[in-house]
């Protein structure tokens, strides 16, 4: 009876085993090809794009009006024609060159502003006040003023582009800087780094995830501003960009070319996202384990 009521576990003898060698087949096995393809991202996104194209083509067939909604195939034909004739690449080139100048100016401005903000209290006040004031201001609304100041040339476009990149990037960079762990900053000071060296050697790499997302947002804003400016104010100094191409094609009722122009904008965006930003991310923040 007593033995049944006992709740303590029995005392078992100790034992020691000699360590057996590990089995030979425990090395990591590579995944099958299909799984690897699916994991690499490209095939998944291509499938997604193909589905979108089919839906578009079906919608166009169903509408049956080339003037309102040309189909995917018609647009693709217009796009290929434009590229082959060299017309579209010329417009794209003009737009991209303007865009890069404005973008670079905006990035440089944001770097100067945020560096000042991290070094001095006055700099912080300046940055916070200016971004609060100017960030909500649409860049396009500044264009008439810019045309007055800088004339009907590329200068005024670069100015509004800089405006559209500067503030969102400065905000993102500043937020990233402030999120850098205090420990890392103290370590930098411990090694005798000055305030500028702290920014370039500690804050910028540590805040790179935020800075990269600011750069992406700035890139998108710059594109929007540029196309809109070209649409509204047409050609500057005789050389039009992509927005001008879209505007002109609409006037001549070549709706398929309008779509081709829009497709070019989207294609360039995708290309930059994948070739530039994702490569930079892979080489930096993902390699460093700061972002998955």
């Amino acid at each position: 009876m007593n033995a049944v009521l006992r709740t303590e576990p029995p005392v078992r003898p100790e034992y020691v085993l000699p360590l057996a060698p590990a089995p030979a087949d425990t090395a990591p096995r590579p995944y099958p090809l299909a799984v690897r393809l699916w994991q690499s991202g490209w095939p998944r996104k291509l499938v997604l794009l193909a589905v979108l194209a089919v839906v578009w083509e079906l919608a166009a067939r169903w509408t049956g009006n080339d003037l309102l909604l040309p189909g995917f195939l018609q647009t693709a034909r217009a796009l290929v024609d434009g590229v082959v004739s060299g017309e579209l690449p010329r417009y794209v080139g003009v737009s991209l060159w303007t865009l890069l100048q404005g973008y670079a100016a905006g990035v440089a401005g944001a770097f100067v502003l945020t560096t000042l903000a991290m070094s001095t209290r006055v700099g912080r006040d300046v940055l916070e006040t200016l971004t609060a004031m100017l960030n909500p201001l649409p860049a396009i609304a500044l264009l008439p003023l810019a045309l007055l100041w800088f004339g009907l040339g590329q200068g005024s476009l670069v100015f509004v582009l800089m405006h559209s990149v500067l503030w969102p990037l400065a905000l993102a960079t500043y937020a990233g800087f402030r999120a850098v762990p205090e420990t890392l900053r103290m370590a930098g000071r411990n090694y005798g780094l000055g305030s500028f060296a702290i920014v370039t050697q500690i804050l910028v790499p540590a805040a790179l995830p935020a800075i990269l997302s600011g750069l992406k947002i700035g890139w998108a804003f710059a594109w929007r501003t540029l196309i809109a400016a070209e649409l509204v104010f047409g050609t500057t100094s005789g050389k039009g960009g992509l927005g001008w191409y879209i505007y002109q094609s609409r006037n001549e009722l070549f709706t398929d070319r309008v779509f081709a122009g829009l497709a070019a904008v989207i294609a360039i965006g995708l290309l930059f996202e994948h070739l530039v930003f994702q490569s930079v991310e892979r080489l930096t923040i993902r390699r460093w384990g700061m972002q998955r």
Binding site: P181, A197, P205
Partner: protein, 273 residues
């Protein structure tokens, strides 16, 4: 190329804290972290600041590091007043994010050397020497996020020692590690000290860690931090942890820190805390 260890010249205290009072601004007003704290650290010391949370031991360490200016009193290193962060006092923090995630182990150790204008070749040689000393030669080109907590702590220690500071400031460097890894780190730190005899100021809240790591322990009482006692612990090592004398000292410290506890039954509890 001078990669060789530190000199031990015991003639005067290396670090001298006299009547240090530190206050810091908090939400509800100015808070006093330490009050009139004095102590001397000699070259080759493994000096431990021990006390419960709120005794200002980490604040004191940051003041020695030059990150906080004391409200009153003086902090002197080798006869010179401490006015700001400097390369002669290198801090090893508790947090793992003290390593730059964008640098490999080798680059992390070289970074402060290069920041101090040490020629690249010498920086590399020193980095390799110290990485080897902490046993991480196989992980020279690994990024910190691929390392375990103990390995990150080792990199931080190698980085600090490669700077050959006058004094190494350790702010609960092993508190975030698991118990087994922490014990390993104690052993390795001990071996490293036996070999190169650096000077170390070590902050902890564990009585056992204080006795094992240190040769002299400063006890601080909380709210605000005041000196309670200074106790010798050079006779204890990792292997005396279970011994009667060790237990008795741990019990004594527990009694000093928490006053009202009956010293007779303190040892058993003290070791756990």
């Amino acid at each position: 190329m001078n990669v060789l260890p530190f000199q031990v010249v015991p003639n005067a205290p290396l670090l001298r804290a006299q009547g240090v009072t530190i206050e810091y601004p908090a939400a509800q007003g100015v808070v006093r972290a330490t009050h009139d704290v004095s102590f001397d650290v000699w070259r080759g010391d493994r000096f431990v600041l021990l006390g419960p949370s709120g005794c200002g031991k980490s604040t004191l360490l940051k003041a020695v590091g030059g990150f906080i200016a004391p409200r009153a009193g003086s902090l002197q290193l080798d006869g010179r007043a401490i006015t700001g962060p400097g390369r002669d006092r290198i801090v090893v923090f508790q947090e793992f994010d003290q390593l730059a995630p964008w640098k490999t182990v080798r680059q992390n150790v070289m970074f402060p050397l290069l920041a101090g204008k040490v020629p690249k070749r010498e920086a590399e040689a020193r980095a390799l020497y110290w990485i080897d000393k902490v046993g991480l030669s196989r992980f020279l080109d690994a990024y910190p996020h691929t390392l375990s907590g103990g390995m990150k702590a080792r990199v931080a220690i190698a980085r600090a020692l490669a700077m050959q500071p006058e004094i190494l400031l350790m702010d609960e460097p092993f508190a975030a590690l698991d118990a087994l890894t922490r014990r390993r780190m104690h052993e390795e730190l001990q071996a490293l000290w036996e070999e190169v005899r650096f000077t170390m100021l070590f902050v902890t809240h564990s009585i056992e860690e204080a006795l094992v790591v240190g040769n002299r322990v400063l006890l601080l009482s909380p709210h605000p931090g005041r000196v309670r006692a200074e106790i010798n612990s050079h006779q204890f090592g990792l292997h005396s942890a279970g011994g009667a004398e060790f237990q008795a000292t741990a019990g004594r410290i527990h009694g000093l820190l928490f006053g009202d506890v009956d010293v007779a039954d303190a040892p058993a509890r003290a070791v756990q805390s």
